[in-house]
């Protein structure tokens, strides 16, 4: 059995080591003996200590009991003291624990072979090795990350790192977009991508719901898109309509009279034909979608990293074609990730890099030497993606169209949609090619609204003659200068960089389906559910643009 602590000097102690409380008690005693080390005899020290303990208001006994019984029942009282928490005693034990931990740490550090160093490692550094590095943490990047984890065959079998430059997303195209989804495209690929994405959003909680977290609410507005066509483009609209119906989209063609009946607030002058989406079209909150993807991907084990990719480390294999010209095949070995606001960087060794950097993916490809070769070779063709600034204006108009307001796109290029229920609308237009604004900042040109947007807007909807611009912002399109469509797939001269970029404004609405396609491309080797091989890099090398036959 346990001995009585105070009656024996410690060296003769035959204490039962199993009792942790007593061990604690001894540590207290030792700390006291350290203080009283100048005293000549051990016994007097103990006696002295005794008095001290007594004077500190019955340190170990909750009740006022006789000295003898306190020490005799030391063990019991200790166990009681753990239960009845008086503040003083709690503080004491907390302090003690902290001191003990510090002491243990100091001892461990002092011992040879410890890993202690005077420099604190940055906990935000990415891992040294990863299987797949996704550059760009927008909705596209996170969607790819999610689908990669979803499709991996062994749980935690893939190490995926998503590198994002700005975790506040203050300049990200995802959150600065108008957030619409439509099926009214002319290319079957785009229509199928939209349909698949709409299906994903319909079942979003099955895909992106995390256990014990709130379900995802996209705030989807099922209001449909309304395209208006003039005389010149009506035939294109009809062709597009046929393609869309064939692909399975629920679209309706309206004559001007029908249009006027359905939406009495529209001025139908100049409109020859209108097409209106009945189902799976509308707008939603981009930030919610981005965060849902991010939350789910992180819960599945994707590593998020804040930093900027500044360089690649790659190997070059030189080959010669039949006619003797030289070909450089590159393979990325590691990605250099620079930490924000510091000189620190980490080279992440990886097998595959996914370029989902959106508007800045052209710059990223340039770092790898894509487009830096001689003019008329494959190596000389750059990634045709560049940032383009687009303005979005929020206008307030109490007399404007009500709850039935669709996402209207006029043939003049002006669009608008309802924002909330308080008579606010979001509007904007694409500037002409020659008048592209400067992309060095995200400042808004309000003159553009006065000159280009408002006249068309007020002509189409007379109620908008009286309006007030309450807010505005600008965002970047990842504009594909070649054919304004996404580039999905691998570059022929770089065998481990996958592209998912250049969507020119519809990246957000296609992100769920494109993420799945890229994951299939990486893990299965080819497209499984949707054949997107037409959207590959090959069309750029062959100079065969896949242009969207737009009416605007």
């Amino acid at each position: 059995m346990l001995a009585l602590p105070c009656l024996y000097p410690p060296q003769e102690e035959t204490c039962n080591a199993a009792s942790a409380t007593v061990a604690l008690f001894y540590t207290v005693l030792f700390t006291f003996t350290e203080r009283l080390a100048s005293k000549p005899t051990v016994m007097s020290t103990w006696r002295r200590l005794h008095v001290k303990v007594r004077t500190t208001r019955g340190l170990f006994s909750p009740r006022r009991v006789s000295e003898q019984s306190t020490w005799l029942c030391g063990r019991l009282t200790l166990s009681q003291s753990l239960r009845t928490g008086r503040p003083f005693r709690n503080d004491f034990f907390k302090d003690l624990e902290a001191q003990l931990a510090a002491m243990r740490k100091k001892a461990a550090d002092a011992l040879p072979g410890s890993s202690w160093s005077p420099f604190e490692p940055n906990p935000n550094l990415p891992p040294e090795r990863a299987d797949i590095v996704i550059v760009g943490g927008g909705v596209m990047g996170w969607s790819i990350a999610y689908w990669l984890k979803q499709k991996e065959r062994i749980q935690r079998g893939l190490k995926v790192v998503v590198v994002e430059r700005d975790l506040t997303y203050s300049q990200a195209s995802t959150v600065l977009s108008a957030g619409g989804i439509r099926q009214q495209f002319s290319l079957p690929e785009n229509i199928c991508l939209s349909l698949a994405s709409a299906e994903f959003m319909r079942n979003i909680n099955e895909h992106l719901g995390v256990l014990n977290e709130d379900p995802v609410d996209l705030q989807f507005n099922h209001s449909g898109y309304l395209f208006l066509a003039s005389q010149d483009v009506a035939h294109i609209m009809e062709e597009n309509y046929n393609t869309q119906r064939q692909a399975g989209a629920k679209v309706l063609l309206l004559s001007p009279a029908q249009l006027k009946e359905k939406f009495p607030w529209i001025n139908t002058d100049g409109v020859v034909l209108a097409s209106y989406g009945l189902e799976n079209e509308g707008w939603f909150d981009p930030w919610t979608l981005l965060n849902a993807f991010r939350r789910k991907a992180i819960s599945m084990g994707v590593i998020q990293c804040c930093g900027e990719v500044t360089d690649f480390d790659y190997t070059i294999n030189v080959m010669k074609t039949v006619d003797g010209s030289r070909m450089d095949f590159r393979r990325i070995k590691s990605v250099k990730v620079q930490m924000p606001n510091s000189l620190e960087y980490q080279a992440v060794e990886c097998a595959i890099v996914v370029n989902a950097a959106g508007a800045f993916s052209g710059k990223l490809a340039q770092m790898l030497g894509i487009g830096c070769g001689p003019k008329d070779t494959i190596a000389g063709i750059p990634l045709p993606v560049e940032p383009r600034k687009r303005y979005v204006y929020v206008v307030h108009c109490p007399d404007g169209p009500g709850l039935d307001c669709p996402f209207l796109i006029d043939y003049s290029g002006v669009y608008f949609r309802r924002e909330g229920l308080g008579g606010n609308y979001i509007t904007g237009a694409s500037p002409e090619e020659a008048e592209e604004p400067d992309i060095s900042n995200l400042e808004v040109d309000n003159q553009f609204f006065e000159d280009k947007v408002w006249p068309s807007l007020a002509y189409r909807v007379p109620a908008f003659e009286k309006l007030k611009v309450t807010s505005s912002w600008a965002g970047f399109y990842d504009y594909n200068t070649f054919d304004q469509n996404g580039i999905i797939g691998i570059h022929p001269l770089t065998n481990n960089m996958y592209f998912a970029t250049g969507f020119s404004g519809h990246g957000l609405q296609h992100s769920p389906a494109v993420g799945r396609a890229v994951a299939e491309l990486i893990l299965d080797g080819n497209f499984k559910t949707l054949d997107l091989s037409g959207l590959g890099f090959r069309r750029i090398l062959a100079q065969e643009p896949m242009l969207e036959r737009n009416i605007v």
């Binding site: 009792s19 019991l76 319909r202 014990n212 609410d217 009945l278 709850l403």
Partner: protein, 247 residues
Amino acid sequence: MSAPLMSLHRCFQRSAFCLVGRRMWSSSSVSPPPLHTRMLLFLTQRFYDIEMLLRWRSHMKRRSIQKKNAYYGYTKSFYGPDIAAAYYILSLKGGFRYTGQSDWFRADQRGKFSWDFLNHKDTSLEEVDMSYTVINYTGLENFYGQQSLKTLLLRGCPEVDDWFLARLHMFQDSLEELDISHCPRITTGGLAALRNLKGLQRLDISYLPGISSPGLVIILLEEMLPHCQITASGYDHNLRQQGEEEK
């Protein structure tokens, strides 16, 4: 001998309970969830197995709903679309009335129904009552081609959401009465999709917990559907209360 161990044990027990209650709940929920939910949460945070089991449970729940809402293609190929739709309704414990008839076919509490409805081949449905059933978006596929459906009652359906409402455009010419009261998943974004129902005359949107500012939404709906009589009870339109909050 075991007293210190007991006390330590109790100590740890208490800390475990503290851990259970430690999670921050969102400010919107007034009361914290019941103890067994918190206990499960604690266990899922500790053990992968329990997390897996819970995931399976929700997966099975979803699958059973999907199964009930399957496309009755086999029935359709044998008996035609009307019988398939009728059979789908009865197997979900709903009720319906054929065009030109006065009696309803309904399933009883235990899901039993008479097979007399098979005698009316190629008669379309006029009224459908799917109240308190698990009908969802995919189940609506079974009604495809019902051109004379006039009444659709969806009171208290837990799986009816905005996407479901957006898909009701398939009855855009015929539907006259729609009851979507007590459906917990309907929000304002879905109500906007009702504009496609041109012939709607009666709409019941009472007790929808998902719409945020019901007074405004009802006014906007009335504006959007001018020929429709909208019933909306169960909302607190008390302006004074909102005014107090602003202060």
